[in-house]
């Protein structure tokens, strides 16, 4: 393990140890915050009991669907804005202020449009996530050094070949960041939507456990969610790091 990795692990272990000690020694009320060991036990119980498996799968499937739609649509919008600079100039103010609008306000509208099922959640997550992918894509395409495009022309690449073999690999670090953000935003959109109005999913179960004073269950579910998001992000981060190292070492 690298020195940075050791330091990282040490900080996390120290924080968990401090929290554990604070809860067990009574510095923090155990009803308000479970010790990390109890959270882990509860998470393990939830996973092995199968009681919440359907909710966990439903949430992850919704996140996966929303993220996939957002990546595809965001990428397509990015290509369009890159190919049409006038459209990009017209859209720039909207893109810059996009995240100033809380997209969750559209949730009732999506329920009216799609009905009381999982689609409004997909729509909220999509609206929240796809612009991050579009911005990352267009920034990535614009970051490609002009000399690489001239080289592509000198090698007689067609427009599609240039996109596939030059622009996409050159913009890959930006695209990767876009995918990473999109997945995070999709998680936030879906889980937050489940909190507000849903009859299933991890967000709904966490909210339900909170309202029923089932603290252990609530923290167990939260831990599962956090571990899932962190794992996905760490996997993407390590790929991104390898890619970046190859391009800049």
């Amino acid at each position: 393990m690298t020195r940075a990795g050791l330091l990282r692990t040490g900080i996390i272990a120290a924080a968990l140890g401090a929290l554990e000690a604070a809860c067990r020694l009574g510095a923090i009320d155990r009803f308000s915050l479970s010790p990390p060991s109890e959270m882990a036990t509860s998470a393990l119980r939830i996973l092995t009991s199968g009681e919440y498996t359907r909710d966990i799968l439903v949430t992850f499937a919704t996140v996966a669907g929303a993220a996939l739609l957002s990546v595809v649509a965001g990428f397509a919008l990015g290509v369009l804005l890159y190919r049409l600079p006038r459209l990009k100039r017209a859209a720039d103010p909207f893109l810059a202020s996009y995240y100033a609008v809380p997209s969750f306000i559209f949730y009732p509208l999506f329920i009216v449009l799609f009905g009381l099922n999982r689609w409004p959640l997909v729509a909220v997550a999509f609206v929240f996530a796809f612009v991050a992918m579009a911005i990352a894509s267009v920034d990535g395409f614009l970051s490609v050094r002009p000399i690489l495009l001239r080289t592509a022309a000198s090698l007689r690449l067609t427009r599609m070949e240039t996109l596939r073999h030059v622009i996409l690999p050159a913009a890959a670090p930006y695209l990767f960041t876009g995918v990473k953000l999109t997945i995070v935003y999709a998680f936030i959109g879906v889980v937050a939507g489940e909190f507000i109005l849903s009859g299933s999913g991890l967000g709904y179960r966490i909210a339900f456990a909170y309202q029923s004073f089932e603290t252990a269950t609530m923290y167990g579910l939260m831990l599962i969610l956090i571990c899932a998001v962190v794992t996905v992000n760490m996997l993407l981060w390590s790929h991104e790091k390898r890619l970046h190292a190859r391009l800049t070492r």
């Binding site: 000399i147 690489l148 000198s154 890959a172």
Partner: protein, 279 residues
């Protein structure tokens, strides 16, 4: 005025024998924001014989790179014509033409081998044919030991050699070089010049080199075209008379000094004009 009308030395290339023939080439950039159109180049004529090494020198902004872009088919001419092996050049880079730019244009996400193989892979060349050609090109430029390295692990000179290998592997009959050693230190420049001469002899390709360096032009070329300040036209063409088998040791030859002095005589006034005209 046509190039050969100005050439006091050497036999002019006949239109039939010319590998590259340029006639009345002019490039005018349209004016923007109320500014008048800018004539960057010409009109100029040029004939390159097969297997010739021709260098172009001129003051900054005289249109040297514009000339190369038009010869490569990367940029359109406003007037005049360019033919390569008898076929007109327009819009796309013709088959058989390779271009090496001044700026590092290696693909950082590909290894040295994959960079060199890029053009052949695009043509779907079978791996059995591709491998020996790429290995041959890498050996030719002395990068065989770095085949699996990535550009970011190489020096500037090595990266430029990767770009040359990527061009050579396509076996171009005309190689256009836009100040390929511009960003390198003087010693590396001289060594790269020797390598370029060796490649030129071994491949038999015609080479057109754009350079700012009078020494580089005097050492490497069969003929040197000296351009005027903008709009760039050839004001002199100097035939060096060097043997084909030559290298950087020519710098000690008394003729070398005479050639650079002649280029500078022509270029000094033009460079001053260009400086005065600069905004």
């Amino acid at each position: 005025m046509g190039l050969h009308a100005q050439i006091p030395l050497g036999e002019p290339v006949t239109a039939q024998a010319a590998h590259v023939a340029v006639r009345g080439l002019t490039r005018i950039f349209p004016g923007a924001n109320g500014r008048p159109p800018l004539q960057a180049l010409g009109p100029l004529d040029l004939d390159l014989a097969p297997g010739e090494f021709f260098s172009v020198v001129g003051p900054s902004g005289c249109g040297k790179s514009t000339l190369l872009d038009i010869l490569a088919g990367l940029s359109p001419a406003s007037a005049g014509s360019v033919t390569f092996e008898g076929k007109p050049v327009a819009d796309t880079v013709p088959d058989g033409v390779g271009v090496v730019f001044q700026e590092d244009s290696s693909f950082p996400w590909l290894s040295v081998f994959d960079n060199a193989a890029f053009g052949l892979r695009r043509l779907k060349t079978p791996e059995a044919q591709l491998r020996p050609r790429v290995e041959e090109a890498l050996a030719l430029i002395g990068l065989s030991d770095f085949a699996s390295a990535f550009p970011a692990q190489l020096s500037g000179g090595m990266r430029q050699r990767v770009c040359i290998a990527r061009t050579l592997v396509m076996r171009p009959r005309l190689i256009l070089l836009d100040e390929p050693f511009g960003a390198l230190d003087q010693q590396t420049k001289l060594l790269m010049g020797d390598e370029l001469l060796r490649l030129w002899r071994e491949t038999g390709a015609t080479i057109l080199l754009i350079t700012h360096s009078l020494d580089e032009a005097a050492l490497l070329s069969d003929r040197i075209g000296v351009m005027s300040a903008r709009p760039g036209r050839f004001i002199d063409v100097i035939e060096t008379g060097w043997a084909r088998d030559r290298d950087s040791r020519l710098a000690a030859d008394p003729g070398f000094g005479a050639i650079t002095a002649r280029i500078w005589r022509q270029l000094r006034e033009e460079s001053l004009k260009a400086m005065r005209a600069a905004p």
